[in-house]
Every structure is written in C-alpha cells, then in structure tokens.
Assembly symmetry: C2
Homo-oligomer: 337 residues x 2
C-alpha cells in the first residue's frame, strides 16, 4: 500500500478471483448480453415488489460470484456494498442473506468502484483475504424513489438517463486468474451548481474529470497507460462535457479509448427509451464485472481504468432547491503480461 | 494490521489527533453538557430547514476538529462519514464544504464506529496519514423521515427512542496525545424478526451481543480488559436484552462497567420525552468524541470499547412488512500507561 495524493497503489496487486452479473430484460437486449451470467425475461425478476426484485439481483449475483470462485459463502470475510435505495436496504438485506461482516457504503452510482477500491485496500493491507464487493439497481425502484413511478408514464427529456436493472459483484482475493486491482483514486465532491435531476450527466462530468486528472497527477501515468478508460455513467451528454473539461486540463485522453458504461450497456440507437444512456449503481457494475473483466481475462484488454460517477442528490435535497453534489472513484484493473 | 476473525488489530495504534462535538439544546441539558464543544440554544441551529441544521452540525464539528488538531482542512486526506438521511446528504454536503476525498458509508446509528474503524484502517496501513471520521443526526430530520414530522405531535410508546441532535468528529493520525484506536470488530447483519420501529433497542440488541461476542472470541481478551464497554444506542429496553443475551453466551460482562450511549446522553429520569433513551448517528458520536475521549485523555478511563449499533430499516422496508435488519461495529480506544 502506497498513498500518492488521493490515490492508493496496491503493492500486492489483489486479484478479482471471480465476478458475476445478473440483469433484467432490457439489459439483456443490449450489446453486452453475452457477457452476463443470467438475464431475466421479466422486469419483476419474479418478485412481488420492485424492491424485492432489486435485492434479488444482488443476492443472486453475489451467490454466483461465490460459486464461480469455487468458494462457500462462509469463506467471504467481508461484504462491502451499497445501492441507491434509501438507507441502502437492498445491500443490507443481501448482506443478511450472505451472512458476512458488512460495510455499507454509499456513493450513488459510484458505489460500484467505492466498494471495489475498499475491497482491494482490505486485501492489499492484510485486513482480509477474501472480500465481496457488489452493487445493484433496478429501473423501477429508482424511478419511483427519485422521479415518478413508471406506472405514471411521465415523459422525459433527451438528457435523462435510464437506471440499469442489474447487479454486479466481484470477489477480491490475494491471487487468482482474474485481473489485478492495481490502484484506486478516491474522488472529492464536486458541485458546479447543476440542479436538474434529468441532466445528471452534466452534473457528474466535472467529478469524473477531477478524478481522472487526480489519477494521472498522483500516479505520473498518462492516459496511454490504459487501453480503455470508462466513466461510470455520464451517458452521451456528460461524456462530451467530460471530454471538453479534460481537454482544457490538458489530459491527453486522445492517447486511449475513452468510453462510458452508460453508453456501452444499451444499444442507444435502437433502445431509444434509455434517452442519453444508462445509469444506476448497477450500470458500471454490470459493465465492469461482466463485460470488462471478460475482455481482460481474454486479454482483449490489458489495462482498464473504471471511473464510476455518482450524483449524490436526494429527492429532498432537490426539492429544497439544492444543487447536485457529485463524485467519481476510479479503479485500475490490469492483466499481467 | 492483523486480521483475526472479523476483527482488525491495528499494529501501529493510530491515534485520535483531535475530536469535536456540536449539539442541540436538549443534549445541552443532558448530563454530558460540559463535554461538548458547542451547544446551540435553538433546535433550528439558526438554519431554515431541519436538513440544513443537521448538515451544519457536521460542518461545524469537522471544522472544530481540524482547528483543535492545529491543522488546515487541506491537510485532511480523506473524510469518511455518513448519516441517517436518504442518500446520506448531510455528510455529502459537509464533504463538499470540507473538500477532501470522500468515502460515504452507511450503517444507520453504527455509522459512527464504521467510519472510525475505516479511518483507523487507512492510517494503520499507510493508506492515509490524516483521516476525518464523523457523523451527524438531528431529531427533527429523523422524525420527519422515519416516523412523523414532530409538528404533527404524535405520541410514542415508552420503548421509542429519541434521535440525538448533534455531530461528533474525530481526526485519526499516526501520532498524537489522544487515545489509540487499538482494534475494531466489523459486525454482521442480525435480524431476529422484530418489525416495530418504535422498539429499535430490542431489534438491535442481538447485533450488539453478536459483535461483542465476536470481539472477545477473535481477540482472546475478556470484558475485564476494558474499563467500560458502551453500546451505541440500545437505550433502556435494548441494553437489558443485550445483557441477557451476553449472559446466555457466557460473556463475562460483570467484569466491567457496561453502559449505553443512548442512556448516557440524556437525563432519562427528567428528560422523559426521550422515552427509552437516545439514538441516531449523532448519539454514539457525541458521547464518544465528546465525553469518552475526554475521560480517556484525563486517564479517568484507560480502555473503552464502543459498540455502535444500527437499525438498518427504511420507511419503505417497514411499510412493506419487512423486519428490521441490524448491525453493530465495535472500536476499542485505549490510552497508553
């Protein structure tokens, strides 16, 4: 463990021992369908409430990750997770099912990488040997809680994003065939005054840019070190803004491929109901733990930086006229040569 | 850093460099009044909304802790915190003010010790040199969000608890005159089926007992190692249940003084409106960072185990008929001879 600025360098290179993803039907129609472990054909996930559906995705993804790692759940020493629900109830109920000591975390959609960064920290420093990190979201729980119940049928502007129905989990251990968690940059809260919850990409872009800048300043690396840098879920509006901000800051993003989980998870041209793209705690989680880790294991990618972004508003803070504070946490996943 | 079961032993003994507490008028009428840094004479904390009041308590406590440590806020490398508000907005807005890289955490009222355990982990392992841990709660935000707005004037059963208006923060560093954070035990989610949000002490007692048992099993210590063991906020109902559970588990609690922050923070006999006692993210925080740390520095106490408990329900999970999952995290604070 070595601290540089706001970045942790994990000297022992903790590994992703196994990962698993479970998604809903709309994600199953997206371009990454082949990378998920299980795709439900119904948005209800065979449950009676949206909240139980969201929880089940996480319970199942965590169980699958444990099985894929050849472990039993009793071997998981800590579970680190969170979600968008008030009081992160989905993760808590999943932690009850799993039974492991539990560290609840919250960073909105950045929770995926906040939990992975902490899991890697625990393993790297000897505070644990096996840690499960995982997050979940469901389109209908998020709409109901943050905007309107989907049944109400309200229309949305083109800048709005679509919460992913899905969960992704990864088990971090000392060794294994998966990619190493090489380093992580913990973000600061950025708030440039955006107040529109239907334009979270614009609100989150400065946080993504700030964390990416910090990552390269702290590590001395340049973007070309990575084959791919993906933001968590800026979607189309936010990604353009982040590109502009990074250009102004003279971060040479042209050296590498720069994409966004919110754009990768859906077929934006045909799944037009997702508007600007995907979002939610499950968005960067299913793209990372499904798609990216497969590409890394197959050596189609060697070094990836995942910069998960989170809009840290609540319906109440929005109603009280507050702007949207945002954050981004970055985790570097690398396969050895 | 050494992991034993679910307990971290902090080999380098990170220190509480400074701590600060800011409370409301009712806590200022309690028996620990002399231990707080600032007592507001109005429940509004001179703000226009309860939410802004809750945030201000944390902003002020964190600022005071930084000043008392003789630091500037730019020297704080990470802020770890959370609160009871949906999407932990109080901590997020305080993190925006502080400007440090931010790890949002949530464990309901156990957040105080979850954040302190993680802060000590970071310092012990070299992942940071100075970390601020802190939580906040306000009676009126919690009542409004979890039960009824106080203005509605609903009555409460004697088992109900009273959310503390206050914030406590501690800065953890490598050295300093304050107590060492010797070890921490991370709890599991316990749920014995209690569904009554007006009896959270009963719901949380098994989690407290489970973590205390784990702590002594993992460390090989006995309760007599500590001068005092305090639970977070079981209050009168929960503390009796925890005592019974620990007796059944043959943990020799009679060796030491065993109390509860929810009972210590108010004058239960005279402040009868608090019913069974205090609760909230601020409860164990103001008792620990105000009262206990002073007693440790004065050597009136030498070794204290703080077992903060959290009821991880949401209004929605309760309305949907779910029981209350609970957790407890324990942190040992010790002065050297």
């Amino acid at each position: 463990m070595r601290l540089k600025g706001q970045t942790w360098e994990f000297a022992s290179k903790p590994r992703i021992v196994a990962s698993a993803t479970v998604v809903g039907p709309e994600e199953g129609q997206g371009p990454l369908a082949a990378d998920y472990d299980y795709i439900y054909d119904n948005l209800e996930i065979n449950e009676k409430t949206w909240e139980k559906a969201e929880r089940k995705l996480l319970e199942q993804a965590s169980q699958l990750a444990v099985v894929k790692a050849g472990l039993t759940k009793e071997q998981i020493q800590f579970y680190i997770g969170g979600d968008l629900m008030n009081q992160i109830i989905s993760s808590t109920f999943a932690a009850r099912t799993l039974g492991a000591p539990y560290l609840g975390v919250f960073g909105a959609c950045s929770t995926s990488m906040e939990s992975l960064a902490l899991a890697a920290l625990l393993v790297d420093t000897g505070a644990a040997e096996l840690v499960l990190a995982g997050t979940t979201s469901h389109n209908c729980t998020a709409e109901k809680q943050f905007r309107y119940p989907t049944e109400y049928g309200s229309q949305k502007p083109p800048t709005a994003q679509y919460t992913v129905t899905g969960s992704g989990c990864g088990i971090v251990g000392k060794s294994g065939g998966g990619p190493a968690v090489a380093r992580a940059t913990i973000g600061r809260v950025m708030d440039l005054g955006v107040k529109d919850p239907f334009n979270m990409g614009a609100a989150m872009a400065p946080a993504a840019a700030d964390t990416i800048e910090a990552h390269f300043r702290d590590t001395g690396l340049t973007p070309g070190h990575y084959d791919l840098i993906v933001t968590g879920d800026l979607a189309s509006v936010g990604l353009s803004i982040a590109k502009e901000l990074l250009q102004k800051a003279e971060v040479r993003m042209a050296e590498t491929e720069f994409n966004d989980c919110g754009l990768m998870v859906y077929d934006i041209q045909n799944q037009t109901y997702v508007r600007a793209g995907g979002s939610g705690c499950g968005c960067s989680a299913v793209v990372t733990y499904g798609h990216l880790i497969k590409k890394l294991i197959n050596k189609e990618l060697k070094k990836v930086l995942v910069v998960a972004t989170g809009a840290l508003l609540s319906p109440l803070s929005y109603q009280q006229g507050e702007s949207i504070p945002c954050i981004a946490h970055a985790v570097a996943l690398e396969m050895e040569d």
